[in-house]
């Protein structure tokens, strides 16, 4: 069993998601290779070489790999794919974009968003917004898998034995597609998917101003990431990449505080693996209370500042 992990990075540093992905890969086999496909990404490859339990790093370094376009990554991986039994990516926007394209090129099925490895060809994955867990077996010679980061604790980013970095050729740039602009949301707080604590707001906040005024002091006090329900995003209280739920990010922090969120099925799907869930809502019948460990019924505009003061 030789496993290829496709690293997610920004050409400067590995994303934490890569460490979760290596953790999942370790459950599949003991020879783990990591592909770093990027531009001027030698530093990332060197960092990847220090990850515990990694045998070899493949580095494909070329301008066309700079922005991580699925077309170019897939074309770079396809020629070497048959050397592997498993190709594993994180189920992030990056991994979800690439993995199915790669699988179709190899004419194999893709297994999405696995939460557990049963054995080398059998995996657990949630379906129907997490309301059921399916155990699926792949009969293909190569398993192309994306993993749910929240379900696998990240491996240590150091302590490895400086695995050898092997240069591989990048595929030529796919014609007719390029990235012309990137607008990243400035984050001064922990990243949502890897945060230990999340403070999340919903429609109950009423406005963008209230979202900021109520949630930021609390997040700052806790060192928490900020999240939002779909309703809050649609109302413009928070940017889209703050969205937690079936169509946004799936999180599993130590503590999730849901404020003014009623708890639609789609939102619950994104948070129910959190260790502790706290809900603050004025409606005692809100579905969020069905999964909250600690619920507080009342006016968030009074309770949240009180909570901030008490911390």
């Amino acid at each position: 069993m030789t496993i290829l992990v496709i690293a997610e990075h920004n050409n400067q540093a590995l994303k934490t998601a890569t460490l979760n992905t290596v953790a999942a890969a370790q459950k599949l086999g003991d020879e783990i290779h990591i592909l770093v496909a990027g531009y001027n990404a030698l530093g990332v490859a060197t960092a990847a070489a220090n990850i515990a339990g990694v045998a070899k790093i493949l580095l494909a370094d070329a301008p066309q790999l700079d922005k991580g376009l699925a077309e170019n990554i897939e074309a770079t991986v396809s020629p070497i794919a048959r050397q592997y039994t498993h190709i594993v990516l994180p189920a992030t926007a990056y991994g979800k974009n690439i993995a199915p394209r790669l699988a179709a090129k190899l004419d194999v099925a893709q297994v999405s968003d696995i939460t557990a490895v049963v054995n080398i060809d059998t995996f657990e994955r949630p379906i129907y917004a997490g309301n059921a867990i399916a155990t699926v077996q792949s009969i293909d010679p190569i398993k192309v898998i994306t993993i749910r980061c929240a379900a696998f604790d990240p491996v240590s980013s150091n302590g490895g034995s400086s695995a050898l970095i092997h240069i591989i050729e990048a595929a030529p740039a796919a014609p007719g597609v390029s990235v012309i602009r990137r607008e990243l949301t400035k984050l001064e707080r922990p990243e949502l998917t890897s945060a230990q604590m999340i403070v999340s707001g919903g429609r109950g906040l009423g406005s963008r101003k209230h979202y900021v005024k109520m949630l930021e002091p609390l997040a700052d006090k806790l060192g928490a990431a900020l999240g939002a329900s779909r309703a809050a995003v649609e109302e413009g209280y928070a940017p889209n990449d703050y969205q937690v739920g079936q169509s946004g990010k799936i999180v599993a922090p130590q503590l999730y505080i849901a404020i003014g969120i009623s708890g639609a099925i789609q939102h619950l799907a994104g948070i129910k693996d959190s260790r502790v869930i706290v809900a603050i809502n004025k409606d005692p019948e809100a579905p969020i209370f069905s999964i909250a460990d600690y619920g507080l019924v009342g006016d968030l505009f009074i309770l949240v500042p009180e909570l901030v003061d008490a911390l």
């Binding site: 974009n97 099925a109 077996q137 009969i139 502790v276 999964i291 507080l296």
Partner: protein, 249 residues
């Protein structure tokens, strides 16, 4: 130019599904079925492109059992011009659907295919990317804005830390994010009109596609249940519980 939109019939997003006791799957008998919400957004976007004069014809495609024609009629009521049903009783996995759609794309010589980013039943998020790979096209997934002009598409995508805008030469596959648009309400006159629009029936055989099941579902179970929570009367109690009982503070 023709645009193809693929639509899937799924359990309505408001239904809380139950797992069958024998562990073979989810009980979907006598449950309300609807068009996958992301596909509604795809149809809406295609119809808007037609209304803007960018595309000539919108073709809605669905694969599955005979009842999928209801989903196609919904697409026609939103404003699609005609529909294609690829009828089969077999279980369809994303790779098979991508192969079927690829065959329809070749047949219709379409330059643009819009799909939802994922179906809310299997939550795979694969079909659009697979279709792009099979057709050898570029892909723009999780789109929140689509502009098509002079053989080019400019697509803004939702990524984990913000947005990214791609410039693509057609042909291209686009998959829709929730932010892309707000699907219109379907009016009664349009439902009536949709009944008269053409709906063609094909089979995987006529398209020359073999349906294969590469993933076997061994069992389906209920997710791990969380313990029953408690309501606390005030902030002081909450903090006390979080510190001493849950030990998260």
């Amino acid at each position: 130019m023709k645009v193809l939109v693929s639509v899937k019939r799924v359990v309505d997003h408001n239904v809380k599904v139950c797992v069958k006791l024998d562990g073979t799957g989810v009980d979907i008998e006598n449950v309300k079925m609807s068009m996958n919400p992301f596909d509604e957004i795809a149809v809406e976007e295609a119809v808007r492109l037609k209304e803007a004069g960018v595309v000539m014809e919108v073709i809605a495609v669905s694969a599955g059992v005979s009842a999928c024609q209801e989903t196609l009629r919904t697409a026609l009521a939103i404003g699609a011009d005609r529909a294609i049903l690829i009828e089969t009783q077999e279980e369809l996995q994303p790779l098979s659907v991508a192969k079927l759609l690829n065959a329809v794309v070749a047949r219709e010589r379409s330059q643009l295919v819009i799909l939802g980013k994922q179906a809310i039943d299997d939550d795979s998020n694969q079909t659009g990317q697979m279709l792009a790979a099979l057709a050898g096209w570029s892909q723009a997934t999780f789109a929140s804005q689509v502009i098509v002009r002079d053989g080019c598409a400019t697509v803004t995508r939702e990524v984990d830390d913000g947005t990214e805008t791609l410039s693509l030469t057609l042909p291209v596959v686009v998959t829709t994010d929730l932010q892309l648009n707000e699907p219109r309400y379907i009016t009664l006159p349009n439902i009536m009109k949709a009944k008269k629009k053409p709906l063609e029936r094909l089979t995987p055989q006529t398209l020359g596609v073999k349906i294969e099941k590469r993933l076997k579902t061994l069992r389906v179970v209920e997710p791990h249940k969380r313990g029953i929570g408690i309501k606390v009367p005030d902030i002081a109690t909450l903090i006390n519980k979080l510190t001493s009982e849950a030990k998260v503070l």
